[in-house]
Amino acid sequence: MSVVTKNNDNKWYLPGILIGLGITFKHLIKNLFNKKQMLTLNYPEEKYEYSSRFKGNHILTVKKDGAIRCTACMLCATNCPADCIKIIASEHPDAQVEKFPIAYEIDMLRCVFCGYCEEACPVDAIRLGPEWQTPGLNGSNFIYDINHLAYRPALKGGIQSVLDDQDRHKAGI
């Protein structure tokens, strides 16, 4: 093992400080006159526009009739590395649908937003949406249930799944 000793011959600190202040001053001037290229935001008032494909909070998609698309196959829960998805399946009155979730809960505080659930889903029932700013007060509930995941106001009545049962049956799949 070797000990590195730094021989700092330059005992004058003031030039260094002045150079640093100079850089700060340069940026201050630049930002004052060229606001568009400024790197920082006034965060709560100004928000950065992420891509619409940003993977944020989960969305459960719905069918054309507004019913939940999920078939409660539990592949997302199986694939989830954070073990944050909890589903309770039940028998659906419609024999063609057969199985649907009566409870679908995602614990957002455990979720690592890896997107594996989205990849595992065979019917495009779960997606990671662009919404990402979901702060909560102390004691708020971060376990999102079906109503929140599929029908929260921001989704305006639900996001429609690309693959519908009826289309699927028409295609003979």
Binding site: T71, A72, C73, M74, L75, T78, A89, S90, E91, A95, Q96, E98, K99, P122, V123, H169, A171, G172, I173
Partner: protein, 536 residues
């Protein structure tokens, strides 16, 4: 030639000796050679309809089905050649013409033979131009079974089961061609005591049990071998459980006892072991009120203190045929040595139907270990008629009563009457796995202590079945960790300390059971952590 003559044959390059008269598929499955089979089941007759157990026999120009071909001397068989694989692949494609392949939704996924085969040989892009034939989806076949006709591959196993094993002939194949489907006749639902076996033998997810349907995905469940405690037949079973509890019971092959089957009644035994119905804590009723709940061990020690003060003739013990031989031995030796009492009584739940037998598996004696209890009582020279207990309680001679109550309470129709009788004792110590209504609502002048016991899936031991066959079984899981086994309870109540035995280090890492012909596919290996770990 006698039927036991051994003949030589070569299967996949391995020289084997098999008994004369065996079919190729029997020879292969008995020697851990993997071969796909859907219509063939070792407990049923041969149908030869699935055409997937193809093998190539040297000297024969074409591949043949293994299930309906006898092994002959010097036969050279293989099922790994390109020719066989090609035949199986196309056979599978025919099966999948109308099979919906909705594995994610299907309840069988994870334990489905067709799914395994599809993942191994699957022609993922079907070459059929026609749309799939659509059939009835959720067909109610009877009180226990639901049919999904689309998924059915018409292997006819369930039909043969009702013809040959349960002999009730409820199921049949109706219609022709690709319209054919399994069904029942009008007004004759699939309703027999063995109906759920059709679900077990269904190689796909066409038949599902109403009880287990959609409760759990099978890959969240672990299985462990045990003995059914539903009746004195002592069927060998597997229980499927996870950390939430036990979800189903399935039969395990044992030629001597149950063959491949078990009854529907035995499948319900898991319902009394789950936490919702169990007694979780010890509790004492004294001076007209229930005291706060206490640890099971504390409750037993408390009971020990009360028993110590009593004379030998005042103490009586009641046993049922629901516990293991080891527990009886511990109870008898501890009570005889510590308390010097011989007042040990056998609580017989339904003596009038004890000798009943339905010809297949179900017996009238609904206790798994009546024989074991009787043997031990006889060995110890104890023969107390039940009347002595009733008289003793009435006259006040017996004041301290220790009851090792039953865990499978649905088969104890006299439970209420008996518990009411027991509570007439001054000091009742009731060991029970299940939380009993009568005890919960008890209010009177006597002292009652209820102490949780472990159920048959949570302990190891021996059951002796109706014909005297002793069957050992191991602990499957622990649902109520605080509950005591009968052995622990007997030691504690006699004032002894119990040793806590830990797990051997690697017991949690090795899977409980592996089939000899377990599928070892690459895609499964990738997910191995899920297979060995489960969700526990």
């Amino acid at each position: 030639m006698s039927p036991t003559t051994l003949i030589k044959c070569t299967i996949n390059g391995v020289e084997l000796e098999v008994a004369q008269g065996k079919t190729i598929i029997q020879a292969m499955t008995e020697n851990a050679q993997r071969i796909a089979h859907y219509c063939w089941h070792p407990g049923l007759s041969i149908a030869g309809v699935c055409r997937l157990c193809m093998v190539e026999i040297e000297g024969n120009p074409r591949v043949q089905i293994a299930c309906n071909t006898m092994v002959t001397d010097g036969m050279k068989i293989n099922n790994t050649s390109a020719k066989v694989k090609d035949a199986v692949k196309w056979g599978l494609d025919f099966h999948l013409i109308n099979h919906p392949l909705d594995c994610p939704v299907c309840d069988q996924a994870g334990e489905c033979g067709l799914q395994d085969q599809y993942m191994e040989y699957g022609k993922y892009d079907p070459e059929m131009a026609e749309p799939k034939q659509r059939k009835r989806k959720v067909v109610d076949l009877g009180p226990t079974v639901v049919l999904d006709s689309e998924r059915c591959i018409l292997c006819s196993r369930c039909v043969r089961f009702t013809n040959e094993v349960s002999k009730t002939n409820e199921l049949g194949i109706f219609s022709r061609g690709d319209h054919s489907e399994i069904g029942t006749h009008d007004g004759k639902p699939l309703d027999n005591k063995y109906s759920l076996n059709t679900v077990d033998i269904c190689p796909v997810g066409a038949l599902t049990s109403k009880d287990f349907r959609f409760k759990q995905r099978v890959w969240y469940l672990k299985d462990a071998d045990t003995i059914c405690n539903g009746c004195s037949t002592g069927c060998n079973v597997k229980v499927y459980f996870n950390k939430e509890g036990v979800f189903r019971v399935k039969p395990r092959f044992n030629e001597e006892v149950n063959g491949y089957w078990m009854c529907d009644e035995g499948r319900d035994t898991y319902k009394v072991v789950n936490k919702e119905v169990r007694l979780l804590k010890g509790q004492k009723f004294a001076n007209g009120q229930w005291l706060p709940e206490m640890h099971a061990g504390t409750a037993v020690k408390d009971a020990y203190q009360s028993l110590m003060k009593a004379a030998a003739s005042e103490i009586a013990v009641v046993l049922t045929g629901q516990h293991t031989v080891e527990e009886y031995e511990a109870i008898l030796s501890n009570f005889q040595n510590t308390f010097k009492t011989k007042n040990i009584f056998h609580w017989v739940n339904n003596p009038e139907i004890f000798e009943e037998f339905d010809g297949l598996l179900l017996r009238g004696d609904k206790n798994p270990n009546t024989k074991g209890l009787l043997q031990i009582l006889e060995k110890n020279g104890i023969k107390n008629p039940w009347k002595n207990l009733e008289d003793g309680l009435k006259s006040g001679k017996i004041t301290h009563l220790v009851v090792f109550g039953p865990e499978n309470i649905p088969v104890f129709p006299d439970l209420t009457a008996k518990v009411n009788l027991f509570t007439t004792a001054k000091n009742l110590i009731y060991f029970t796995a299940v939380n009993i209504q009568q005890l919960r609502d008890y209010s009177g002048n006597n002292t009652v202590t209820k102490i949780p016991l472990k159920t048959y899936v949570e302990k190891e031991g021996t059951f002796i079945n109706f014909k005297g066959l002793a069957q050992k079984f191991k602990r499957a899981t622990t649902l109520v960790s605080e509950a005591l086994t009968g052995v622990e309870a007997a030691q504690l109540i006699a004032g002894h300390e119990i040793k806590v035995v830990g797990h051997p280090d690697n017991s949690l890492l090795t899977p409980a059971s592996t089939r000899k012909d377990q599928v070892t596919l690459e895609h499964r290996k990738k997910n191995e952590f899920l297979f060995t770990r489960g969700r526990l």
